[in-house]
Subunit: 345 residues, 2 copies
């Protein structure tokens, strides 16, 4: 197969780890007889520095023509005081919206060797294997008005959803549950928010289409508790944008493998953007010590979700697991008797 | 001192534990020479059953005339399918709003004897002692519009804050930090939300009034991570209503003492409503096995914050600590070699 991939290194360690992803993909291409072509573009703070905007037109155009996009990370203190429209995060939010990537998939699964670095007791996390499906292009992140009012004396943000936006993410979540353990937890705040009531209604309607999937509704505050008390009770969690942001970051630290977690942001036709869950880690950027495994595992998700290359994806995932099992690791991971290495080893 | 207290037992175990609070207060009155008078009113599902509304007029009137209010808990599956305006939670939201209780204080501190039941590794939680100050009468919970639109095809909720609402809760948080370890973490989503930007601005303005308090800003997703990774790093956390709901519930399970956590909802003049953090636990209601300690500790907060009775409050807190240290506990707590008891022992 021939596939064209846009690389968006972004900021901080994004610049380093993107190279590891490319190297792995070149290996895969050779081994499986594919042709991957690459094109690199600017996003985030780096794009502000080079082009005066966190999301240059040519980046958008290139991404729209690509089969998939790999993103390193965006953000850093250097750009924290810029006005809103020049913040690196605006680049990320912009590209998600421009490409219509409404479904953010964040699998959280521990690595046996790394459970020791979990803040939770090992017996609580050893069996946890969950997937958060977060709505990514609606809700509080994009609703209008979002502005100061009354001469700066008040402020408003808007949580707005159209029914079809809820339907498509709920469908995606049901389909994801089918590929896993057939259980779906829909998280909302239906005892307070009108948007959550519609959300819950849509889930109730949709569940008749997926009779093989069991469904439960959970309030977001309860979910924030239960993720810690018993993460193994979850299979797939589906929720709106803001709740998903909070819960997926909460979930990401449970197994002690934050530096290992990939994510996929998809639209219905398979086009997707893939990025590590971790950030741009400006404090360790440029030292060649960043952990590239979340980035590499993001390429596996790309192969699987955008290119339908299941075998190739598993090949990468197995390789990562083996490397960790052998004890090779970057500084951020704690492995007893491990072998510390750097990014490009 | 003479003080008049309204008791709102509410639903489920609320009906049982409120009696323990009253018994403790009667002891305190005798020991310290105070006169406490009590009046009981309906709220929540029980009020729906008895008066056709989760917040009867006479409950509101009585609370407005009281020196403080003690609430058990509201909610239960029995009322889950009622229309919005008849949901038990509307009673709770209504009374908070009617009384203007804008500041919700939730202290989270472990009990040595109970750390074993924490999902986290003991060394992570043993030193944690934090206070979440949650804005309670604004934001997404109360903003309008909050409704279906376009023939039910879309839905909107509104996150609205007035500057003075942010100012008063931020002041409360700074003042709380002064009574503790002088550190304040303000949590927002300033990289996305306009309301968070105003929030951050207000914190920056206010901090010059409290030069003895160190201030840090943290994004809500990062806060959800750090609460688990290292809860001991926090002293006081201040945040808006919805973030506070999620983070305070997340924090409440860290130390393994959910059944022990009290909360205070205050306005500026000292009037307050006090309630346990836990819910109405309909599954164990009526069995006399509910843990009354969070309710009892809520009365201690009432004595301190509404009546200025610091010594009396400490007396209750010490007694609770002693009881737990002696190993007496209800079924929900796990204490090695403890002595299991029931609510009214
Ligand atoms: C950088 C930020 C805007 C972004 C978000 O909130 O969506 C990030 O936290 C994430 O979760 O990918
Ligand atoms: C019952 C519900 C409306 C309430 C809230 O969200 O405020 C509860 O979760 C709480 O935190 O006191």
């Amino acid at each position: 197969m021939k596939k064209h991939i846009v690389l968006l290194p972004g900021d901080g360690i994004g610049q380093e780890i993107i190279g590891s992803a490319r190297a792995v993909l070149e290996e895969i291409a050779e081994k499986f007889g594919h042709t991957f072509t690459f094109e690199t573009h600017a996003i985030g703070g780096t794009a502000v520095d080079e082009h005066g905007t966190p999301l240059p037109e040519e980046t958008v155009t290139a991404c729209k023509q690509a089969d998939a996009v790999l993103l390193g990370a965006v953000g850093g203190p250097k750009w924290d005081d810029l006005p809103s429209h020049l913040r690196p995060e605006k680049g990320l939010l912009g590209i998600r919206k421009e490409l219509g990537l409404f479904a953010n998939l964040r699998p959280v699964k521990g690595f046996k060797k790394l459970l020791g670095s979990s803040p939770l007791k090992e017996e609580l996390v050893e069996d946890s294997d969950l997937l958060i499906v977060r709505e990514l292009t609606g809700g509080l992140y994009f609703g209008t008005p979002s502005e100061r009012q009354e001469n700066g004396q008040s402020v408003v943000d808007t949580l707005y959803y159209e029914r079809h936006e809820i339907e498509r993410i709920v469908d995606k979540a049901f389909q994801s549950a089918r590929l896993r353990r057939n259980h779906l937890t829909s998280v909302d705040k239906a005892n307070v928010l009108e948007s959550s009531k519609l959300w819950r209604e849509v889930v109730e309607e949709k569940k008749t289409d997926y009779p093989d999937v069991t469904v439960e509704h959970m309030l977001v505050d309860a979910a924030a508790m239960k993720l810690i008390q018993n993460p193994a009770q979850f299979d797939v969690i589906v929720t709106e944008n803001m709740f998903g942001d909070i819960l997926s970051d909460e979930a990401s630290v449970l197994t002690g493998s934050l530096g290992m977690l990939p994510s996929a942001s998809l639209r219905s036709d398979g086009v997707g953007l893939y990025e590590p869950v971790h950030g741009s880690a400006p404090d360790i950027a440029g030292q060649n010590i960043a952990n590239p495994l979340a980035m590499i595992l993001s390429t596996a998700l790309m192969l699987r979700h955008s290119f339908g290359m299941d075998e190739e994806a598993s090949c990468i995932e197995k390789a990562v697991e083996e490397v960790v099992d052998l004890g090779y690791h970057t500084k951020d991971l704690k492995i007893t008797n491990g072998i510390e290495t750097n990014t490009t080893n």
